[in-house]
Symmetry: none
Subunit: 224 residues, 2 copies
DNA sequence: CTTGACGAAGAACGCATGTTCGGGTATTAT
DNA sequence: ATAATACCCGAACATGCGTTCTTCGTCAAG
């Protein structure tokens, strides 16, 4: 008896949208007009169609005319927005980083993490990405803890300000630091601002193993 | 002239599977039998159906009979792989946490992060999840830095060992700590093992705003 | 050679599903 | 009051699309 002419989404719009979400998650494919009708107590397919047209104009959904179940939520990233990144191994301060072979095209599903594309640096070959699990507390000066997952990108020259994983052969040490090239040396700055930078002479060996793109800490890993 | 009776996946099986993957990613809904046929150079729908039946027996796909486009890959987690988590605001040491209203069913696309379900705690209402962006260096003792994104879960009693966001009214302070209930006090343990715990008497006020589920640090946010 | 399983077509059949149309009833504007 | 909207049926219509039936060629075993 009301809720008319109220601009924005009406109750039916909302119900349809949430049904679309639910159905897609539950079944893996979009519903038909009639299914939407049943779920939202709309008896006529034409009314559903009427609302779908409105939702499309509002940009909430996208429709493929003439094809069955051709309805997608624009908000819902059509799966595929995800990137599977292989976990190449563990990273410890006392050992070099296990950089994966350059030709890993398919990887074991067991050892990979899924990251949404929206969280990854846009552009750039994401095939060069790999991940490492941090072993031990030795990276604490980089604000990285035991069990954290470090996503790295191999290849490419590090720019000033990049966080990189470096292997210092003369110290037998792997470390994560912000990288700065200075006149006669490299400055490796810890992420933790309360800690001091270390300096590496230009003639001292230094191997940049990759650029750190992201750090993930899963605190509650409850299974079940 | 060969490839017959070779158990396992034939070339056609592979082609169909990869087309299913591609189509789902590209269009957001499964293809029809005829579309599969066209894409894999199979002229007859019955042949496609023949292979689909085999793939279903092998457990590679799941079919909803009689339903158009009722084909799903089992490999691909049928329940939307990704979870959109609303970013409720920023978290600072000097102010309480902005916990979102309990009835946010739809949220602005602009302020949300996508997290793969595989990285989130299984089970449990994921509707209670929300995210906060860290403002400033004040959470360094929790190994959390400026700009990090903290994913939290509201509701539920904190268990010993959980990392929680607490608001200490008597100190006007928000902090992230591991939570331990001890005899006459609460012990709030920093994530950084080199730092000391703080103790809160049982009669001192303490508000647990949520349980920290995940911390994400995007280091390279390069756009384009 | 015959038989049967397998791979493949093509066409017909029929339910599934999007589209359209004529006809309603409120609410609001003119 | 009349007209203009916005909402809402229900039903017919026209494809879309899964299913099934018939036929055919090939290969391996009996």
């Amino acid at each position: 008896m009301m809720a008319r002419k109220k601009k924005g989404l009406s109750e039916r719009h909302e119900k349809i949208l949430s049904f679309l979400r639910a159905h897609q998650k539950r079944e893996g494919y979009p519903p038909t007009i009639r299914e939407i009708g049943k779920a939202t107590s709309i008896s006529s397919t034409s009314v559903v169609n009427y609302y779908l047209d409105q939702l499309e104009k509002m940009g909430k959904i996208e429709r493929q005319r003439k094809i069955s179940r051709g309805i997608q939520l624009t908000e819902l990233n059509p799966l595929g927005e995800m990137f599977k990144i292989p976990v190449a191994g563990r990273i410890v301060a006392s050992a070099p980083i296990p950089v994966p072979a350059s030709d890993f095209n398919y990887f074991d599903a067991e050892s990979s993490v899924d990251i949404a594309r929206t969280l990854l640096p846009t552009r750039g070959d994401q095939d060069e990405l790999f991940a490492l699990e941090v072993d031990g507390d030795s990276m604490i000066d980089a604000m990285v803890n035991d069990g954290d997952i470090v996503v790295m990108k191999s290849g490419g020259e590090p720019k000033n300000g990049d966080m990189v994983a470096v292997w210092l052969p003369e110290r037998d040490e792997t470390t994560l630091k912000y990288f700065y090239k200075e006149d006669n040396r490299y400055r490796l700055q810890p992420a933790n601002p309360t800690m001091e930078a270390i300096y590496i002479d230009k003639d001292e060996a230094l191997e940049i193993k990759g650029k750190v793109v992201m750090v993930i800490r899963q605190i509650d890993k409850t299974i079940i």
